[in-house]
């Protein structure tokens, strides 16, 4: 740009400052979960040297073209750019505001921690647990304080019991925290620099929950009622995208390696037997059948509705879907979803509501027993069984036996587990069922897409 300021005009200081700023900005992007590698940073710098630094639009476009390579990250980039490349006064004001808020929070937490004491000793709690406490209602707070003061004053109670009391309080607060749904599901860690932290947090605050929020990474049970239409549209898009991908005709890639001699000779008889026109083998496409077994006990209902919606969106790519729901018993719902009718998450949720088995305790063992008794004909070698469940069930050992029996009868058992992976080790049933199935973590739409793409996609390629 002839008219623009170039880096060289400002001498080495400006160039250095530019470099430093860019590196800091890249640092912010990385903390927001936008992967930017050093090569791209170098590109970004080269790009800045080519555009007019006086034009905000040009700088933004240049950095966006070189640093952000996935459309989903664009909202994060835009917001971070606005906050980072703001006027110095604005930035300072924001940082000061944030520090103030942080101090206030710290003071609040310290005060709260002082209230939660056992025999005068503050309990050892994480900041999240204390924060949960500060969010409780007055009555609940008081109940907790009463519990502590009563146990502290109990006969023969000494400091040794503190660990026990602590673990009770921790468990209680953790449970409340989950119920309140304040799971701060934020991917970033602190950068250690107040200025940068302000930008990171400001960006996250602005983007999370907004239209631009990639809902695809949110826990499905946290998707609010009001967002359901948007989620449904998103699911249908994902499913459609996947279905077109899966159902595209698949041809042998390394076809050079597999000539079809019979067809080659036949078609070359007219050339006097000279092998003039070579013919090659092509692969056949097989479409798997899906056998869906969804857990609809209380907490699972929301997940099930989304997963059903997604699977029905895939109907174009598979040769048939058989669907069952279970809690204490198994119920077949294939017939309830008429073919050709586009199923919606809400309708499916209603369907699940109507189901006789909805919302009870879970008994996978008994349910699988029923499957074997009444629907054994559905088990075949070209069927992929998909079980959607958090594995919390009665009759675990019976289920274990039946899964072992089922495994060789179907092509594969794919288990979509709605528990986060880090919780898996604390549930015995996870390990038990994972022996017989390909178990995947699946509590966001992104997981769902990934699992189905890899899991079902793999079976599309069988010869």
């Amino acid at each position: 740009m002839s008219a623009g300021r170039s880096v060289d005009d400002g001498g080495p200081d400006l160039a250095l400052q530019l470099q430093e700023n860019l590196v800091r900005f890249v640092h912010v992007l990385r903390h927001l979960g936008v992967p930017v590698n050093p090569a791209e940073t170098v590109d970004g710098l080269a790009a800045l040297e080519l555009v007019d630094l006086g034009s905000r639009g040009e700088v933004r476009a240049a950095l966006r073209a070189t640093l952000v390579k996935t459309e989903g990250h664009a909202p994060l980039f835009d917001k971070a750019f606005d906050l980072f490349f703001a006027r110095p006064e604005e930035r300072q004001a924001r940082t000061a505001e944030r520090l103030q808020a942080r101090d206030a929070r710290r003071a609040r937490l310290e005060a709260a921690n002082a209230e939660l004491a056992f025999q005068g000793e503050p309990l050892e709690l994480t900041p999240e647990q204390i924060e949960t406490y500060t969010r409780l209602g007055e009555v609940q707070q008081e109940r907790l304080r009463d519990f502590l003061s009563e146990t502290s004053a109990g006969y023969g109670v000494d400091g040794k019991l503190q660990a026990l009391v602590e673990s009770i309080v921790r468990g209680y607060l953790d449970r409340l925290r989950r119920e309140m749904g304040v799971e701060a599901n934020r991917p970033h860690a602190r950068t250690g620099d107040d200025d940068l932290d302000t930008v990171v947090e400001g960006t996250v605050d602005a983007v999370v929950g907004s239209e631009a929020d990639p809902m695809i990474h949110r826990d499905m049970k946290d998707i609010a009622e009001a967002d359901l239409p948007r989620a449904t549209i998103l699911i249908r898009r994902l499913a459609r995208r996947l279905a077109t991908r899966l159902s595209r005709r698949y041809r042998e890639t390394h076809k050079r390696s597999r000539p079809n001699m019979r067809r080659t000779i036949r078609s070359n008889i007219r050339h006097g037997g000279v092998l003039f026109d070579l013919r090659y083998r092509e692969r056949k496409i097989t479409r798997p059948k899906l056998l869906l077994i969804c857990d609809v006990s209380g907490s699972m209902a929301r997940y099930t509705a989304f997963i059903l919606e997604f699977i029905f969106g895939l109907r174009a790519a598979v040769s048939g879907v058989e669907a069952f729901v279970f809690s204490e018993q198994l119920e077949r719902i294939t017939g309830l979803v008429a073919p050709g009718v586009a199923a919606r998450a809400q309708d499916l949720a209603k369907l699940v509501d109507k189901s006789k088995v909805w919302g009870r305790g879970t008994d996978l063992g008994a349910s699988l027993e029923t499957l074997f008794e009444k629907h054994e004909n559905l088990l075949s070698r070209d069927t992929v069984a998909i079980i959607v469940s958090d594995t919390k069930t009665l009759g675990a050992d019976q289920a274990d036996d039946l899964l072992r029996k089922m495994k060789p009868r179907v092509k594969e058992i794919l288990w979509l587990n709605t528990l986060p992976r880090e919780d898996w080790p604390s549930h015995r049933t996870v390990g038990l069922f994972a022996r017989h199935s390909d178990m995947r973590e699946c509590y966001t739409l992104a997981h769902l897409e990934q699992v189905i793409r890899v899991g079902v996609g793999r079976h599309m390629r069988a010869t």
Partner: protein, 326 residues
């Protein structure tokens, strides 16, 4: 489409690296392609940094057109490699002309000679495919690798290798190095995640559906015979159609088709009945057409679209829901 910029191209080709954003803006404009700053800067950086440009966006927003425009404004060849599943090196890079070799052998044999191997594997029998063509081109060509998301991951890895050093080795002929680095344009509909490596090498551009204002400029530039009123109606109505939950949103190409259809019908003003009758020009899916007809059945849909239409504001897709089907 006419190519008004073609004449001015050749003299600028040597300077492709020196093109400024201003020059690009004018050249794109002369060529009839309405490009915003995002597009211009990304293209400019790709030219200056000599990197491939990866363009993503919904079908029909003008991804492929950018490559065509570049070829026209620099007055150079457009070499196109259309990707599909099963595309392999022999279709993309080079292949020996088996039939021709066979004929040659037959002829020599009938003449009583023994063919020499070096003779059979000479340039005469080499079938150049797009990648090799681009590498051996005399002048810096535009290499368009279309719908790169449709090829297999293995081919993508191969492509990645070719794009990083523009060197190809043909065992029988030796290593061929590109005379100059072609202007490479990759497009993707995002059907499959591309590898990080490929993304990393490229300048990235995402083209969104245009704002009402931009679409209006496109309609005016490409269908100049349409009146201002009609062009504005079209842009506003299409913008509202894009907010519906459809299988396939109308693309710019379809907007232009629809405008031409309206012109052919001698219409000056859009109304609901007309929209319902010509919906098939905009939407290419039965369910979508039915949904639009149903929406327009009330008789106020177009009016509302025109009222709500504020030029300059980008339209957010997916905000309104498709009305429930009976």
């Amino acid at each position: 489409m006419a190519a008004p910029a073609r004449a001015r191209g050749a003299s600028f080709l040597e300077d492709a690296k020196n093109a400024t954003t201003e020059w690009l803006r004018k050249a794109f404009e002369l060529d009839g392609y309405v490009a915003g700053q995002e597009i211009l800067i990304a293209v400019y950086l790709a030219l200056r940094l000599e990197k491939p440009i990866l363009i993503e966006g919904a079908p029909g927003v003008g991804k492929t057109e950018i490559a065509k425009v570049l070829a026209r404004i620099f007055g150079t060849d457009l070499i196109r490699l259309q990707c599909y599943e099963g595309l392999d090196e022999s279709k993309a890079l080079y292949e020996w002309d088996y039939q021709k070799q066979l004929l040659h052998i037959q002829l020599l044999r009938e003449a009583g000679c023994i063919p020499e191997e070096s003779e059979l594997f000479s340039e005469d029998y080499l079938l150049e495919r797009p990648l090799l063509k681009a590498i051996r081109a005399e002048r810096r060509p535009v290499l368009l690798i279309d719908e790169v998301d449709k090829c297999d991951p293995e081919f993508e890895a191969f492509l990645f290798e070719v794009l990083s050093d523009f060197t190809v080795s043909v065992p029988e002929l030796g290593t061929i190095r590109a005379r100059q680095i072609p202007i490479v344009v990759l497009t993707s509909n995002n059907e499959r995640e591309l590898s990080d490596g490929l993304r990393r090498r490229c300048v990235y551009l995402f083209i969104e559906y245009p704002s009402v204002e931009k679409e209006l400029r496109i309609v005016r530039s490409r269908v100049p015979e349409a009146s201002d009123k009609l062009a504005r109606d079209v842009a506003c109505v299409v913008a509202r159609v894009r907010t519906m939950d459809l299988r396939k949103q109308p693309s710019i190409a379809e907007t232009l088709d629809w405008t031409r259809a309206l012109l052919a019908l001698g219409v000056e003003k859009v109304n609901d009945q007309l929209l319902a009758e010509t919906a098939t020009m905009l939407l290419k899916n039965r369910d979508d057409v039915l949904a639009l007809r149903e929406a327009a059945a009330g008789g106020r849909w177009v009016t509302e679209a025109l009222e709500a239409c504020e030029p300059g504001r980008p339209h957010q897709a997916g905000k309104t829901r498709r009305p429930p089907r009976p």
